[in-house]
């Protein structure tokens, strides 16, 4: 009952994954939650593609929609092209062969993502059993091999233990082992280190990247942690209220920021080079409800550089090139942000009349 099928070899050197104008929403009792709004991006083989943004910005939903994991999510338009074929047109059975085999997912909390009643080795081996049709014994041997690969000491003993006998970092390594058992082309890691102790976060990420190189895949990394992004990524996509705010390489997004939201995110993390005692720069307010989004640019009520009334509250900014490379941003005034530093941002926020409570409602993040 091998489900291993080569559904399609990659025909060209085009992107592994290409998402075109994806729009998706949830129908709730309170109204339509526009979780993903006109999102387009590409992920190439070997790349680490990071997605950042506050809670409720649509990061996870975008990722989960690739694998079709949210039954209540309705995709209104757009395409999810995997090696050139639209995953949205795949049957459930065909998706089963893609999931785990070509695209695998690593979850945030490894304690709840591992089944408490099965041994770790059995769960890791199960991947190979169902996708490659090998027998139990071979599967266990494979599991031991994979646990060893992700850096779990004494893998042959650990494989026979249950998830509760593992520490948090070990569990996440086991989860990674499970995800990479079938050598997928794309690993989607949804906040893989959020539930972990800070001291083991770096180790787990190193293991993740080492594995990526080993099996020659790409990683889509969803995270809050800009430090992780800066250290690991090739490309970054900043999301806000279901839309893309800025996309580019790490250097472009971090050092030639062209979107006030990205600037806000950068200002709100502590940095070594900043003056001692200097306060962080918070982004005023909180993310908007995805049911009643602000008019115009969804970020304008919290933006320090807004021109209201004006284009900001009337016209939705499109994602457009802002540099000579593929750097894109969705801000009407992207060009004027060239050369703006965090000190400028601080000065602007200090003197602006931005009210922390202005025009914002609590975000209801749709639960998949």
């Amino acid at each position: 009952m091998s489900r291993r099928r080569i559904l399609h070899e990659q025909k060209t050197d085009g992107p592994l994954l290409e998402i075109r104008n994806l729009r998706a929403h949830f129908d709730t009792d309170d109204g339509v939650v526009q979780a993903v709004d006109d999102v387009s991006f590409e992920i190439h083989r070997g790349e680490v593609f990071s997605v950042v943004g506050e809670s409720g910005s649509g990061k996870s939903v975008t990722a989960m929609s690739i694998l079709g994991l949210i039954p209540t999510l309705k995709v209104a338009s757009g395409e999810i092209l995997w090696k050139g074929e639209n995953l949205l047109e795949f049957s459930d059975e065909d998706m089963g062969a893609i999931r785990g085999n070509e695209i695998a997912m690593i979850f945030q909390d490894p304690l709840t993502a591992l089944n408490p009643v099965h041994t770790v080795g059995r769960q890791v081996g199960e991947m190979a059993r169902i996708h490659e049709g090998i027998n139990k014994k071979q599967a266990m041997a494979r599991a031991v091999e994979m646990l060893d690969l992700v850096g779990i000491p004494e893998p042959h003993k650990r494989a026979h233990q249950y998830p509760h006998e593992f520490s948090g970092g070990m569990r996440q390594r086991a989860m990674i082992a499970m995800a990479v058992t079938c050598k997928p082309d794309l690993l989607i890691a949804d906040e893989p280190t959020t539930a972990l102790d800070v001291t083991v976060q770096a180790q787990v990420l190193e293991a993740l990247v080492a594995i990526k190189d080993e099996i020659d895949s790409a990683i889509m990394l969803i995270t809050h942690d800009l430090g992780v992004v800066a250290g690991l990524s090739d490309k970054v996509m900043v999301m806000y209220a279901g839309r893309q705010a800025e996309v580019g390489t790490v250097d472009e997004v971090f050092y030639e920021t062209r979107h006030p939201y990205t600037l806000g995110l950068l200002g709100s993390i502590p940095r070594l080079e900043q003056e001692e005692g200097a306060p962080l720069i918070p982004i005023p307010g909180s993310p908007p409800s995805l049911i009643n989004r602000p008019s115009g640019c969804p970020f304008h009520p919290r933006c320090a550089f807004r021109e209201v009334p004006g284009r900001c509250d009337q016209e939705v900014p499109a994602l457009r090139p802002v540099g000579i490379t593929e750097h894109t941003a969705a801000c009407h005034f992207a060009e004027t942000l060239a050369g703006v530093t965090l000190d400028d941002l601080r000065a602007r926020i200090d003197q602006s009349e931005l009210d922390a409570d202005a025009d914002v409602e609590l975000v209801e993040e749709p639960q998949p």
Binding site: R99, G100, A104, L114, H118, E126, I130, H131, P368
Partner: protein
């Protein structure tokens, strides 16, 4: 299906061997005992449950070795037509003799076989049907769930005694017919328990993770969710064996169960009820056998409930 040995010594050599292996090879992990050891430790604290377990083991042994234990056959009339009828308990006939001179002790010993067979078989059928239907209803939801739960409601509305009488009328009165009736009416509770477990368990992240990693639906249902839903089912199943034996006795008493000379306890009570005034032993011994057996299963079920769920302590 279950890793909780019922009616046998839970500290099997297997468990012991595993612990030794752990403590021997990986000293730092000695504290991580297999779960079944913890369950047994908590179960032991409940004296009534242990007493129930001992009685169940005893009854099982009686059933298995009935040929050795019983001095006479269950249909045998030791004194022939001139034998002792309705004899009081004595050293010759420990539990006395019945209205046609058969040894009551032998009949009750053989009756253990009938009761346990019917109890186990009917409960197995009920568990199987309930598990499958409950799992499907809870996992898929929607129209399938509505359909299955409405079928459950319809079955709930049919009194099992009426159904038993109908089945007995069609298929004749036999052990198999009674197993079928009790099995087909006993799954309702199981289906409800399993469905509600599945409803909550399918929301958990490891189920989502299993989907994300491409596992099939059947595998997720029975390999990943079901083992996590087993605890209430084990408890329910244990108690259900007891109540099924009770139902069997009731049906036999009403005359829709196995027929004479099958030594069904309920049937014996029915046969003895006319002589309650002068030969009370005819009702007392089979009645006590039913009562003690049912009580034991219920006590063990209760003990398992406490032992399997540490949060209750």
């Amino acid at each position: 299906m279950t890793n909780i040995p019922i009616g046998s010594d839970p500290q099997s050599p297997n468990t012991e061997g595993r612990q030794v292996a752990l403590t021997g090879d990986v000293p730092e992990l000695a504290a991580a005992r297999p779960q079944r050891v913890d369950v047994w430790r908590r179960f032991k604290r409940n004296r009534l449950a242990v007493a129930g377990l001992i009685f169940i083991v005893f009854i099982c042994l009686v059933a298995v070795f009935a040929d050795v234990i019983a001095p006479y056959g269950y249909a045998e009339r030791p004194g022939g037509t001139a034998g002792a009828f309705r004899a009081q308990p004595s050293s010759d006939f420990w539990f006395g003799t019945d209205t046609i001179g058969r040894d009551m002790f032998s009949r009750i010993v053989y009756g253990a076989r009938v009761s346990l067979k019917i109890g186990l078989a009917a409960t197995s059928i009920a568990l199987f049907i309930g598990l499958v239907l409950g799992a499907v209803a809870g996992f898929f939801g929607g129209k399938i769930e509505t359909l299955i739960m409405r079928i459950t409601d319809i079955f709930l509305a049919i009194p099992y005694i009426v159904l038993a009488v109908a089945v007995a009328a069609v298929f004749g009165r036999s052990e198999n017919a009674i197993i079928l009736v009790l099995g087909l009416t006993g799954w309702l509770g199981v289906a409800r328990i399993v469905r509600s477990s599945f409803l909550s368990l399918k929301q958990l992240e490891y189920v989502e993770a299993a989907t994300a990693l491409g596992f099939g639906r059947a595998r997720i249902m029975f390999r990943h969710i079901l083992p996590n839903a087993l605890q209430p089912i084990i408890v329910y199943g244990t108690i259900a064996i007891g109540t099924t034996i009770l139902s069997e006795a009731a049906l036999s008493f009403l005359g829709v169960g196995p027929q004479d000379p099958t030594p069904a306890w309920g049937l014996m009570v029915a046969q003895g009820k006319g002589d309650l005034a002068n030969a009370a032993h005819l009702v007392f011994f089979p009645g006590a056998a039913v009562g003690l057996t049912v009580l034991s299963f219920v006590l063990v079920g209760d003990g398992l409930r406490d032992a399997l769920d540490p949060r209750l302590k």
